[in-house]
């Protein structure tokens, strides 16, 4: 399916900017390593936050305060399953199949999960101590899945 979010932007509160800078590999960041910066792009961290919030059953939250454009919707083209996942998430959330004709609402639903998941993600990372970001996150995910199973 075509990316219905190609013309949209993903805006998140400015307070998360430094955290995105810390955990996302920048193109010019020569010292960046996947163990410390496990997310290749902002969109990956944003999507991880959505996944985390859904898995943990967190209540959606709306962005508040000053926001900035963390990503453009067009980047979702690179992983075509992501627009599909966002659409399915919106259908599940609204129980309305026609929501697929309302990309703005679908993106807002996804972003509200991201807003719930980002603080949780940062709280997890704050506990990693001396362990690498990648390993700590993987262990957390492993724990979450084990608990769910």
């Amino acid at each position: 399916m075509n990316n219905p979010f190609a013309g949209s932007d993903i805006n998140i509160p400015d307070e998360f900017r430094e955290h995105f800078d810390a955990y996302v590999q920048k193109k010019d960041g020569s010292n960046a390593r996947p163990v410390n910066q496990p997310f290749a792009r902002n969109i990956d961290m944003w999507f991880f936050a959505i996944c985390l919030a859904v898995k943990k059953g967190l209540a959606r939250a709306e962005p508040s305060g000053k926001t900035y454009k963390a990503a453009e919707g067009v980047v979702l083209n690179s992983d075509p399953w992501r627009p599909t996942a966002i659409t399915l998430l919106a259908i599940a959330e609204t129980n309305d199949i026609e929501v697929i004709d309302r990309p703005g609402e679908m993106l807002r639903i996804a972003n509200s999960y991201a807003m719930a998941g980002l603080p949780e993600l940062l709280a997890i990372l704050a506990q990693r101590g001396g362990e690498s970001t990648l390993d700590f996150l993987c262990e957390e995910v492993e724990g979450l899945l084990a608990k769910a199973a």
């Binding site: 399916m1 999507f47 959505i50 992501r82 399915l88 599940a92 697929i100």
Partner: protein, 698 residues
């Protein structure tokens, strides 16, 4: 010989000091107790100077009192009274050695010695003092009977050649072997004289030529023997050096060749770089696990499932068309269906089936745009909301396992790199090459010396054979002359006597060395408590036929005494050797030993003292207070005389009381090993420690 008393005056720190020695056979030990710098070694030197003269002292040793002004005249006297066992009982002698010299004159004065035989009627001065002294106490025995704990160690320390030389010399002199050598030389001279006389009587040119040849051989054979001995010593020395160089080479080889290590280091670093690169790739691969489709499908499964069920319902209601249009259209290009039936439009059935397919295509095209979107979503979303074929946890486990393996590889490479860097730092540029050159040089020199020794050995044998032949010819020729027959008989007697002495000397060399070796072994094992203990690390000690003192551990493994024995055992071994030597020699003389128990403690110290006392005819020991500590009961039993020497300069640091003496000399008191008086009383350890601290603070 037994020492009765000594009086020393004007000898460095010793001024009018007189000591009596124990003559009691049951308590044969005399102890001169003295702290360091209190005259022990000076008294040992004075005794040796008194008995043997200047030759007993080191070249630059000054006997003058230490505080005399430069240019002042010094008078030094040592009087030694001793007794020697004779046929009619002990004879007593007094030896007085004296020297006058100017302090700092740069040259030591020549001493004069006077010897008196002490008779009941008075003192009878003897002429030819040196001849008497040589008979009473041969100078060559001095270093065995007068020694100190450190000097005795030279029998087992230093280069192997030196050790062997010293042990050989000590044994040969103690056994009187030089005397036998002198006897052989003397008989050779006699033989020469007889042949000369024979030559003169016979007037035969042939006899004269034979005599000259024999005399030339008598000169050349000892020369060759000396060269052979020298070559043999070189062989021993070079064997040792070669062994050492070879060990160094092996060590250098173990450390490795620099180029090889450097190449290994480059190889390891490249492997490490590759592994690092792989690790980054694996890390990236693992990071992808946090943002890939499997992860999303797993994490969002609860919501995706709901959406999936909704879509499934729609599909079941027929609101999601099958994606069959392209397939159906494709099939219409063929004459048969995928089910195998004919789609040939020229046949009735085929035409009917084609019509049905066209109707289906038309029905599908009739779905509206929403349905199209939903349809796309259903088919594209199935991979998300249907159960996942690949589990995220499996992907993670695999990625983690690969990273873990690579981490171990990296750790191993890191260790290899560190090891190689350390080895590289230790290896000098030319380490292996230099060690190899050294070893090869010694090996070459060793081969040369072995060849030389072989040549000398062959030449000696040939010349000895030639000499035997010439002597036989000489004897046969001389026997033809009537006047020469008697001289020829004398010559035969001289040759026989020489042969007997030479054989006796050879037997003594082997038999007596074995006897000394056995006695040394018994004493040594007793001293260190290894004679009965089955668990002992040291099993035996011996003097090898090459005159080397060596020890053996468990499984008869040969040990190097200078390296494998502790300080106490090394001293015990050398004292055991000295005692064994004096016993086997049969020479009765006092064993005078300075600080024999240094570095010893406990069992070994007590046993060394006990055995030395039991096995000496007369034992004179110079002991420090700490050497005496723990051995008081043995001295109670064995010491017939004990005196104490005190250096007044030790007040106030060591001595309790001010002796009131300011000039440089030691004081003698009669305090034994358990007593102290106002002169010799010492401060205890804590008091000395407190004073040292106060000095530091000041």
């Amino acid at each position: 010989m037994r020492l009765v008393r000594v009086r020393v005056d004007g000898f460095r720190l010793l001024r009018d000091v007189e000591i009596e020695f124990s003559l009691d056979k049951a308590k044969n030990v005399t102890v001169i107790r003295a702290a360091n710098e209190s005259g022990k070694t000076t008294m040992l030197s004075a005794l040796q100077w008194g008995l043997f003269g200047e030759e007993a002292l080191p070249r630059d040793y000054a006997v003058t009192p230490m505080d005399l002004d430069s240019g002042a005249m010094s008078e030094t006297t040592v009087e030694i009274e001793y007794e020697v066992e004779g046929k009619r009982g002990p004879a007593r002698y007094r030896l007085i050695r004296h020297v006058s010299e100017r302090v700092d004159s740069g040259s030591r004065g020549r001493s004069t010695a006077h010897l008196y035989e002490l008779l009941s009627t008075g003192a009878n001065e003897l002429t030819n003092v040196n001849a008497y002294l040589a008979a009473h106490m041969p100078a060559e025995l001095r270093e065995v009977f007068f020694t100190d704990g450190d000097r005795a160690l030279s029998f087992i320390e230093g280069s192997r050649t030196e050790q062997q030389k010293r042990v050989k010399l000590a044994i040969e002199q103690m056994m009187g072997l030089p005397m036998l050598d002198d006897a052989v030389d003397h008989i050779k001279k006699v033989e020469k004289e007889i042949r000369s006389r024979l030559d003169g009587i016979a007037g035969s040119q042939q006899l004269s030529d034979l005599r000259a040849e024999i005399e030339a051989l008598d000169v050349s054979i000892p020369e060759l023997e000396a060269k052979l001995t020298d070559a043999q010593e070189q062989i021993v020395n070079l064997t040792e050096l070669h062994g050492k160089a070879d060990r160094e080479l092996q060590e250098a080889l173990k450390r490795g060749n620099r180029e090889e290590i450097a190449a290994d280091l480059i190889r390891v670093r490249k492997a490490k770089e590759r592994a690092e690169s792989n690790r980054r790739a694996l890390e990236a691969r693992q990071a992808v696990l946090l943002s890939n489709k499997t992860f999303a499908a797993t994490m969002l499964s609860s919501k995706l499932k709901v959406a999936g069920e909704l879509l499934e319902k729609l599909r079941k209601k027929g609101q999601i068309p099958n994606k069959t249009i392209p397939i159906l259209e494709d099939r219409l290009q063929h004459t048969d269906c995928i089910c195998g039936e004919s789609l040939d439009e020229h046949t009735p059935d085929g035409a009917r089936r084609r019509g049905a397919i066209l109707a289906l295509i038309e029905e599908s095209r009739g779905a509206d745009a929403l349905k199209s979107k939903v349809s796309d979503l259903y088919y594209e979303g199935k991979e998300l909301f249907e159960p996942q074929r690949t589990k995220w946890i499996d992907e993670y486990t695999e990625a983690f396992g690969e990273r873990d393996s690579l981490d171990r590889v990296l750790a191993d490479l890191g260790e290899q790199e560190a090891d190689l860097e350390a080895r590289l730092a230790k290896v000098k540029d030319d380490d292996v090459q230099r060690a190899r050159e050294m070893r090869d040089t010694y090996a070459q020199r060793l081969r040369e010396q072995i060849e030389l020794a072989t040549r000398h050995d062959i030449a000696i044998k040939q010349r000895k054979q030639t000499r035997t032949d010439k002597v036989r010819q000489f004897d046969a020729l001389s026997a033809k002359h009537e006047k020469g027959q008697r001289l020829a008989a004398e010559l035969t007697v001289a040759a026989d006597v020489k042969l007997v002495i030479e054989r006796a000397r050879d037997v003594m060399k082997t038999r007596e060395v074995q006897a000394v070796s056995n006695r040394m072994n018994q004493r040594f094992l007793r001293m260190i408590g290894a004679d009965e203990a089955e668990s002992a690390l040291i099993r035996r000690a011996e003097i090898t036929p090459e005159f080397r003192i060596t020890v053996y551990g468990r499984n008869d493994r040969q040990l190097d005494p200078s390296q494998d024995l502790n300080g106490a055992s090394r001293r015990a071994l050398t004292i055991a050797f000295v005692l064994a030597l004096t016993e086997v020699s049969g020479v009765e003389a006092p064993n005078v030993i300075d600080t024999p128990l240094g570095m010893m403690s406990g069992y070994v110290k007590r046993e060394v003292l006990r055995i030395a006392a039991e096995d000496s005819a007369q034992l004179i020991l110079f002991l420090t207070h700490s050497e005496i500590e723990g051995c008081e009961d043995i001295l109670d039993e064995k010491a017939g005389k004990v005196v104490t020497l005190t250096n007044p300069a030790h007040y106030p640091n060591i001595l309790k009381n001010d002796p009131g003496v300011r000039d440089a000399r030691v004081l003698l008191c009669e305090c034994d090993h358990r007593k102290e008086c106002s002169v010799c009383a010492r401060k205890d350890g804590s008091e000395m420690s407190r004073m040292a601290k106060e000095r530091l603070q000041a």
